[in-house]
């Protein structure tokens, strides 16, 4: 039975939860398919995550491999294919605890970087799992700066082979997933040398384990890099190569080739390759970043209407903690952000689909803009959502700190998204480089890509708001964000130019501006996110109450940003102190409004109890009962600890020599 404190929250929803779910899924038909996939996965005991919080790293890995193997069977049974509409929901339904994700990257890298001949040879083997692939790029000493990779591949003309080596410890491959214990093959990125000349980093297919007995191949040292903050299910590995020889044909050679006589040939455009890296950044945002935040919001908000603590009014029953303004101010902006980022993700997906079509027509014009988008939004969204999940965790007090709440795992996993696929600061600076360039171009009156035309339109002016209601006008706050972004970009551009004109070398001047450049890039992404939220709300259907509540969330997201980053809005007086007070009043006022729909708004995310895997977040709100039931299953309760016989008993019985 549903806890009455949670049930009552659902009776007063101002909108149709089911219709909002359908909107989030992109239509009711998608909702139906998603639920069917989730249902099929969750009713299969092989995919159970019931013991997840009690498992060791070894157990997590074994379960992930088991699930990956079982998934092949399941897909066959269910008639799901990689190109079918169900596919994208499978990973979500598994909550990511599955092996062989790098096997897929292995295949993708061959498809993109390999010749037709190489594709014809390797892809069928990989598809049928006659080998297990991985992708060995990062080294102990190099992640971000790929040109600095130290693994070498020297062409031996006499045998027509490449000889691969790890010349020093920092050159060891480190972190590749599926490589520590599973993979038989991997794509190794190494500096290519022919006749003593270095041609830069190239990809080579290398077998690392026997297909017969899985023993390491000659010259290979490999293993698992050990425990991490999360991702215990992945065997992130290390790899050392000592005179490992691979045939000439194993260098992926769609774009570059070493001919038998050692002639190095580069052909075609590698731009499409960069585009692949760019799309990976965008594709991870939904599953790895936004969904975890939605889960965290669901858990924390449901718990906050079940948890009662202290009294809001003397003499009354203890209050639900979500009725406290401070708790609302912790959680509701994160809820608004989850929606904001869901919508910006839709926008980015569309932009990239369009970009992809252009690129297939050999039009590479949009590449710089897409690259700037993918870098900036990956950084901004991962950072924002990581903080947001942490806020949700802390907002649940002690119980949030228990693994059984599900929140610690969400946090330790989403945190990694700030680091992988490009470290966030580096990415922001790439976006900043694009913005500065566009700003310079725009200031000379030349055309710039559509997303940054606003840079040309800097109006000095002041915010026209006269009262707190004005701050619920999207025009008012969108213009404030725009003004702020332009100001940060233009003032940093001015600082940069000033330094260079005063004689500071270009690279040094750049370094001295990087803190502000990163800030400017974030401001740009924040502005685009607000603008997109506003535009999305305008297009929503006005029935079923959805547009109204989304408008509130959009206002909250925008005003929370103004409240939390007041300095950048106040700096040049665009918003005055008095106006900031109005914005704050509107912001705090919205909390009480949205609070009424908080539970329906997380219900609309439509997570099953199994997918939340949280004692605090279940649909029925039976929080304390579930915490107790789950705790009893802990291995720490399975038997009396050997610590009793060994240490406690002698201590208590004083059989040891007297202390």
């Amino acid at each position: 039975s549903v806890n009455p404190d949670l049930a009552s929250e659902r009776q007063t929803a101002s909108f149709s939860v089911e219709k909002l779910t359908a909107r989030l899924d992109g239509g009711a038909e998608h909702t139906r398919i998603r639920r069917a996939v989730v249902q099929a996965i969750e009713c299969d005991p092989e995919f159970s995550r019931e013991n997840q919080y009690f498992q060791s790293q070894n157990e997590r890995y074994e379960a992930a491999v088991r699930k990956a193997v079982h998934l092949q069977k399941k897909m066959h049974e269910m008639g799901w294919t990689e190109n079918g509409p169900e596919f994208k929901y499978i990973y979500r339904a598994l909550s990511g605890d599955v092996a062989f994700l790098l096997h897929r990257i292995f295949m993708r890298s061959i498809s993109v970087l390999g010749s037709d001949k190489q594709i014809a040879k390797w892809i069928p083997l990989a598809t049928q799992y006659q080998l297990i692939g991985s992708y060995a790029q990062t080294e102990l000493g190099h992640g971000t700066y790929l040109q600095g990779l130290e693994t070498t591949a020297i062409f031996d003309i006499t045998t027509q082979e490449f000889i691969l080596n790890t010349p020093k410890i920092s050159a060891m491959k480190w972190w590749p997933g599926d490589m520590g214990r599973s993979a038989t093959h991997t794509v190794v990125f190494a500096q290519l040398y022919v006749h003593g000349k270095c041609y830069g980093v190239h990809p080579f297919i290398v077998q690392i384990r026997s297909l017969q007995d899985h023993s390491l191949c000659p010259g290979i040292t490999a293993g698992d890099i050990g425990p991490k903050m999360n991702f215990e299910h992945v065997d992130n590995g290390y790899l050392m190569l000592q005179n490992v020889r691979v045939p000439r044909e194993n260098m992926l050679n769609k774009f570059c080739e070493v001919q038998p006589d050692g002639t190095y040939i580069r052909r075609g455009s590698q731009k499409i390759n960069y585009f692949t890296m760019t799309t990976v950044r965008i594709s991870l945002i939904s599953d790895e970043v936004i969904i975890p935040l939605m889960k965290a919001c669901t858990i924390a908000i449901r718990y906050s209407v079940v948890r009662r603590q202290s009294k809001l009014k003397p003499g009354e029953q203890e209050a639900k903690i979500l009725d406290y303004q401070t708790q609302q101010e912790k959680l509701l902006p994160q809820l608004a952000a989850a929606y904001a980022f869901h919508f910006i993700n839709d926008y980015l997906q569309e932009l990239f689909d369009k970009g992809y079509r252009e690129i297939q027509r050999k039009n590479f014009d949009t590449l710089p803009e897409l690259h700037a988008f993918s870098s900036g939004f990956k950084a901004m969204v991962t950072q924002y959502c990581t903080s947001a999940v942490e806020i949700c965790l802390r907002a649940c007090g002690g119980h949030g700190y228990s693994l059984l709440s599900g929140l610690p795992s969400l946090y330790t996993k989403i945190l990694a998204s700030c680091i992988y696929e490009g470290e966030n600061t580096i990415l922001l600076l790439q976006t900043a480089r694009f913005l500065i360039k566009c700003f310079m171009t725009a200031s000379t009156g030349q055309p710039v890509p559509p997303s940054v035309t606003y840079l040309a339109a800097m109006k000095p002016g002041k915010c026209p708001a006269n009262n707190k209601l004005d701050f619920l006008s999207p025009d008012i706050y969108t213009e404030a964000y725009q003004h702020m972004a332009v100001r940060l970009i233009s003032s940093t551009a001015a600082k940069l130019q000033g330094l260079i004109q005063s004689g500071v070398k270009k690279h040094e001047a750049w370094n001295q501006c990087t803190v502000q450049l990163a800030q400017a890039a974030k401001a740009h992404c924040h502005y685009i996110t607000v603008k997109n939220f506003v535009e999305t709300v305008e297009k929503l259907e006005t029935t079923s109450g959805i547009q109204k509540i989304m408008k509130h969330l959009c206002d909250l997201f925008a005003l929370h940003g103004i409240f939390s980053n007041a300095g950048v809005f106040l700096h040049d007086g665009y918003i005055s102190g008095a106006q900031m007070d109005m914005a704050t009043a509107s912001y705090l006022g919205l909390l009480a409004v949205i609070r009424k729909d908080a539970v329906p708004l997380v219900d609309a995310f439509d997570f099953t109890d199994k997918s939340l895997n949280s004692a605090l977040g279940s649909y029925d709100g039976q929080v304390y009962q579930r915490l107790y039931e789950w705790a009893q299953k802990s291995p720490t309760n399975k038997q009396m600890s050997p610590a009793y016989e060994r240490y406690l008993k002698p201590l208590l019985h004083n059989t040891r020599s007297k202390i």
Copy 2:
């Protein structure tokens, strides 16, 4: 041998590292004692933490119990006593991984709340470990709001016993340390009922496990609450009581007593009891919060001069990542904060020692101020340091995410400090209540406690800075902080009064101001921290370069706060936009200055490699070598995973039915 990239950083220190260490310890003699304790603990293999990152929850618990038992022996051997100068360094040397900490709280609660007779009975038993104690206050349903505890203790006049019960699941004791598997006794807090009348929460000594065989006593259900984000070494437990009878003498009765005929007597002052809770909050700041931040800074900064990535200037060697402005801006403010909080901790200790002496003389006048201090600083310092440790972790990229870096454990442990011993938001609001009261008092011209006399001295004015150098003047920034704190407190007080005058009920008005009240309380603590740092620097010896570098750190701490919270300084125009640019220029300029001494500044914290337990942070900077060595010890590398025979081999060999 020391990595040359790290060695070179030490050759250019602008100050005497050894003298700074002595200053941090409170004198060279303390340094000597601390090092002797650390040495004695670390050379004893029983206290090794070598396998910590590979251990299960069960193994961590067993090790903690083993260490706690061994510690008794060690203290005897070494001649260390609880009142000796070595004692406070033991816990630090063990890095906290030791059991029976709640046994000490058990003893402390009896000493404070028990009668002389009770003390005479229980303390010797506990001292000699003829029992193991715990402290059962928090329940599943209640943490913050102690009046809401639901466990009952009903006096049975016929048998002269209390009958303890857990009337519902939310009343179950949940979280007490040492209780899940170790404790034989615990102090249970329960609602006292005599003749059907409730007298509120009182403490009762209850035996929960047999002293013979450790089996649970009749009526007791107890166990471990399962996995947490950290603290795997502690057996946080649950406890359910069903008609558990304890004799009348087991209610701790220094302040309250139930007489044989059921008469309830309250005597003396409980104020001293609140003071005990207050001191616990202060005492945890050093070991649980500041030291972890110092460790995180040590790890991240040492790693950042060993890690080279990408090029700062074309054609040169790859740069140390600490040479990038963005990396400096991540780490150096955290380093400055570690010093700032070390000094504020010294200040708080002194304040509390003085307060304690007053209280022993029955002068309770300073209690409200001390309570406000302990609440506000506990909240502010734990929150700040938790964010700071997370920044250090993220700043180390992928390798920071490995448990072997030591950073994830530091983070997951320090995070708990935001929750335990008072949830931070609740604590800030308690400080805010004190500040509002003092502000009201001051505005009527009446005297207020010394720490808040500044509230009476609100001058409108503007910041007098004319150029960026002015922002390196402590007067300039201290006054800015003071102005900002007064403004936030006074404007929130005005809002509160306005609401009440407009007819909003008092408690509702308070709730509507809580977001801003919490902000005001933080601002107050931030101001006091800056002011104390300034005053500390002024008193430092001017030789050995210590005062100079501490002045830089003090400036950095203050300007970082202005840069990151620009809005609250700009709001009323006290600092103008142009001045904010000056402050920012000074702030960014300081980064490059302090960067030169960054390694000596963390060396001065004087952590041994064993206490850091970090592959990234060791004194010798042999980062990659150590990561590789440690990874090889991981249980994931001990043998071929059973996953191969079970899942991978059938998959690769296609012995399963074809997919």
